[in-house]
Symmetry: C2
Subunit: 423 residues, 2 copies
């Protein structure tokens, strides 16, 4: 470890997740510098100002749609790791800017997909991350690391997959990410706690599934609905298949028969998304209304409250996790849900950030600390499941945010529930 250069981070994006990232990182000592960059210099300044004099953080302006803008900041600040915290539309320029500048790279969402032109609901077109994996050999040859999908989902869910394979199962049938929450916003009939623009994008894209005998394939939106029972009082939530990075990542490093991602949207939210699609209100192609040209999806977003402003009015918990079925290390059938729950009241009190963005932001801080200490090393374009899960889960717990494990009877009610508490 003594030979490692001091870590110098460039955080691209000072929005909800970016500013939660800085609040969490500020309590740790593993890095020497963190440049907080945003398209809005004011937003970057505000994020740094909130850290009350921690001189490791400095603000900067960046254009995330321009690789050379990212590269210039990497060179100017001798950055070792670029942390991408902007909209997935900007993954490629940030990824390329990091490479051009000579820095390693981390993100929480991968390069975007494009549906199959003729058979979008049965075959994949360009998949999530394809553009990044296309240059994986080059990154590996150069001894450089791009750690992709290291938020909570993808991210912690992928760490759980590695943990299940190494420590709980001798054979895995399905790696099924299951995400659900019981969040409510006071004073609002309907107020999503995350960007409706991105949610529409995720949920109306054809969901992707992986099977050993079939590879990756797609289905129509909202396929395979199931009611999943979430832990710690969240309870049953209706989940449907959604396109998500884990399905593209987990089968590359973890042996399994099937990989899925189901999002606990709840029946009300599913109905809303279906209705928006039926009326064409999900479209980003402009229409003429009130004498002006406007994108219907932008209008939908404008009618809803800004999720970034809702933290103080929100109550409830959010749960990210992985439901694994197969054969346990004892040779008997096993069904285990590995999960991480954050209570909004706790994250608001402890960090001043709402639980959904806090839960996303904590994982890349943990990963960067493992890279800084040398507990995690690797080269190429790698997912979180390419690394040992134990030091990650231990450090997450040490951050004060424990994870949980529930043993489910197969086709039966829950038979056990264990929480890995912080020590």
């Amino acid at each position: 470890m003594s030979e490692r250069a001091a870590m110098r981070i460039l955080l691209v994006g000072a929005g909800g997740v970016g500013s939660a990232f800085t609040a969490i990182a500020a309590r740790r000592s593993f890095f020497e510098r963190c440049v907080v960059a945003d398209y809005s210099r004011e937003r970057a300044d505000a994020a740094v100002a909130a850290l009350e004099g921690d001189t490791r953080f400095v603000a900067a302006q960046v254009d995330a749609s321009d690789a050379s803008s990212v590269e210039a900041l990497v060179r100017e600040h001798e950055v070792t790791h670029v942390m991408n915290a902007v909209d997935p539309r900007f993954v490629m320029p940030v990824f390329e800017g990091a490479h051009a500048g000579g820095a390693d790279y981390l993100d929480m969402a991968m390069s975007l997909s494009h549906p199959h032109p003729e058979r979008p609901h049965s075959e994949t077109g360009i998949k999530l991350g394809d553009e990044q994996f296309a240059v994986a050999d080059q990154w590996q040859r150069e001894g450089r690391l791009a750690l992709v999908g290291i938020g909570v989902e993808p991210g912690l869910s992928d760490v759980f997959a590695r943990y299940a394979a190494d420590h709980l199962f001798s054979e895995i049938d399905e790696l099924g990410v299951r995400d659900g929450a019981n969040l409510a916003v006071e004073g609002h009939d309907f107020a999503p706690s995350f960007s409706i623009w991105t949610t529409i994008e995720e949920c109306l894209n054809p969901p992707v599934i992986w099977e050993r005998d079939r590879g990756w394939f797609t289905t129509p939106p909202f396929s395979e609905p199931e009611v999943f029972e979430f832990p710690e009082g969240i309870g049953p939530v209706e989940c449907v298949n959604v396109e998500h990075e884990e399905v593209l990542l987990m089968p590359r490093w973890v042996d399994c028969r099937r990989a899925t991602f189901k999002y606990g949207l709840g029946d009300e939210f599913i109905e809303v998304l279906k209705t928006l699609h039926k009326l064409g209100l999900d479209s980003t192609e402009k229409v003429r209304a009130s004498g002006v040209e406007v994108s219907p999806r932008d209008v939908v977003a404008a009618c809803l409250p800004d999720p970034a402003t809702l933290g103080a009015k929100m109550t409830g918990k959010t749960c990210a996790g992985l439901f694994v079925t197969g054969t346990g290390t004892d040779g008997r059938p096993r069904a285990t849900y590995l999960y991480h729950v954050v209570d909004n009241e706790w994250s608001m009190r402890e960090y001043g950030h709402q639980c959904v963005v806090w839960q996303t932001a904590v994982n890349p801080v943990v990963a960067l600390e493992l890279l800084a200490t040398g507990e995690w090393t690797g080269t190429g374009v790698l997912g979180p499941e390419a690394f040992d899960a134990v030091p990650f889960l231990d450090l997450l717990t040490a951050y004060g945010s424990p994870w949980g494990q529930r043993e489910d009877g197969l086709g039966d009610v829950s038979v056990g529930d264990e929480r890995h508490e912080a020590v």
Copy 2:
């Protein structure tokens, strides 16, 4: 009849209903002149041109939001009857312009309501037609007639109420308007056959109900859902209470215990309207999106196909009717549905107009013919139920558009179905 002045009509509005009105009236001889006026002179010209040389029709430009513009046309063309066929937002200026110019007046929708400021879902505020009834004494004193609500609903439904009271029932429990259809539009998942803007306005206003012991009162939107069985193959459709003129008109002239209006929106459409409301997309207050100011409701309308263009792609039938319960003239319990069905294929073939607008437009033509021949006379602000129903129903049948009567077992299945065919 020899003393009556020749009828000279000013039609205000050459949209869907207005141009269907001219197509129907052109086949009748009861009037001498019909001035077809629209805000768009081109639209008025097109409606007149479609009548292929019938010199009784002349085109004009009018501003329906300006009473003096209507008055000027009344004077210029020595108009005896102003026929209002524009959006209900313009009822009052057209009504006042007719009065100022010395003409009688007809419309198919009454002056707009405003909800109760504190208790919108239990008490009425300003009711539909209140502004017109406020000057009823003046119209009566001057020997002038305003025949309000003489489309199909309101209109024919109110005629049915008069007919039921005079010929079928000794005592009426409920006068329940029930409107339903089985229209579908080829090539569209979701394509309303009528203005979504107006439908939102009607359906999200608090519905109004009248009861003998309570007077007029309101409920939350979509109240008292019921599945009503519509005749002639339309079948069961989910209906809910909606604010509509009949509830304000029928109890003024027809003795009953209760008056309601239920619209057969169907469960899918009800779900769409509820979702639009939940997301604030029904609002007409502008929001900022894509860098411009826009009304969300206008964006919803812009995303859907223009209903005026759908006639040729539409299939199915529309039904307007009145379900009457009470005691028959024989002293026994009776439940009768009086109805009028138009098949889109028929109205497109016979008149080139889709069934919903054709069904609305035929009724004021019939009423004007009865006023021209002197079979209907009256003064003041009157609803259709203030006149004898029999000549109206006979003339409607003579126009080639018969009505129907179904006797329903009380709490039982249908026990009879009779159609009053054209002779």
